[in-house]
Amino acid sequence: MAGSVYIKDRMTNLKLAMVLEVFTVSGAVAGAYLAIAMPVWVIQALLGCVLFYTSITMFRERKGGPSASDAGSRERAEESVLLAGEFYDVQSSETVSYGVKNLKIGTVTSFIAGAVSGMVGIGGGVIKVPIMNLVMKIPIKAAAATSNFMVGVTAAASAVIYFESGLINLKLAAPTIMGIMIGAYIGTKLLARSRSTVVRRVLAVVLSFFGAVLLLKAGGILAW
């Protein structure tokens, strides 16, 4: 639902999503096999630490968008013109144009994000949005929308396997879907109207929450 609104508003960067999706989907498949070889608690602990670190970085970055802060680093970082995008920000009522930087790091981390989301069962979005925003210097709203497009595809890749294997719990899935739909609808409306700084803060809080949950799970304190 959210994805459809973002695409219509051109907040989703389709080309970037396609490039990163190749790596995420490959990662998701690799993750299924890696999960067998590696103890789950190790993955959870590692990811928990990564999320905490990302959360702190998100909080520290003062500016709403990355545009102002990287004027100096512009010469150093390669910028991919081919993947550049722009969208209309309803909140600030201005058109935001941006380039994509550090594409190589972005693709590698997308692969890892895909693998991790397959192994731990959390959306790869919590990794992808910070990477796109902090490393690839994409405005937070475009990063959120693009990640939204990708998460559905990555999730579908593993969901099909679970569906075929008869591992989906209908009594659990049906009510959850209803709740998610309402939440996603409200979230989508909110994102367009929120200030970028607020979006980043919310994300930082969410990252800390997931980080804490993962570390507690790794330590065997949380059982779900």
Binding site: M18, A157, I161
Partner: protein, 84 residues
């Protein structure tokens, strides 16, 4: 003139809304309908990649078309994999 973004957006909307409606109705009426709804929801992202691929093909942006084709290929292979 309908833009490609709008077209993809509508496909997603129809897919998600029909999937959710089927799942919700099926929860009370029949489990088969609910399962079909979940399958529609899972398959909707396949559609969005396929449409993005078609979009790039029409615009002769072949590298991106091949990326989309690769993603669909992986999704199809995935649908043949089983756990256990």
């Amino acid at each position: 003139m309908v833009t490609v973004e709008e077209l993809i957006s509508w496909v997603l909307r129809i897919g998600v809304l029909s999937g959710v409606t089927m799942t919700a109705l099926g929860f009370f009426v029949s489990a088969d309908l609910a399962w079909a709804g979940i399958l529609v929801l899972i398959l909707t992202p396949f559609m969005r990649v396929a449409m993005a691929g078609a979009y790039f093909l029409c615009r002769r942006e072949y590298p991106f078309f091949f990326l989309a084709a690769y993603v669909i290929m992986i999704l199809v292979i995935g649908s043949f994999l089983r756990i256990n």
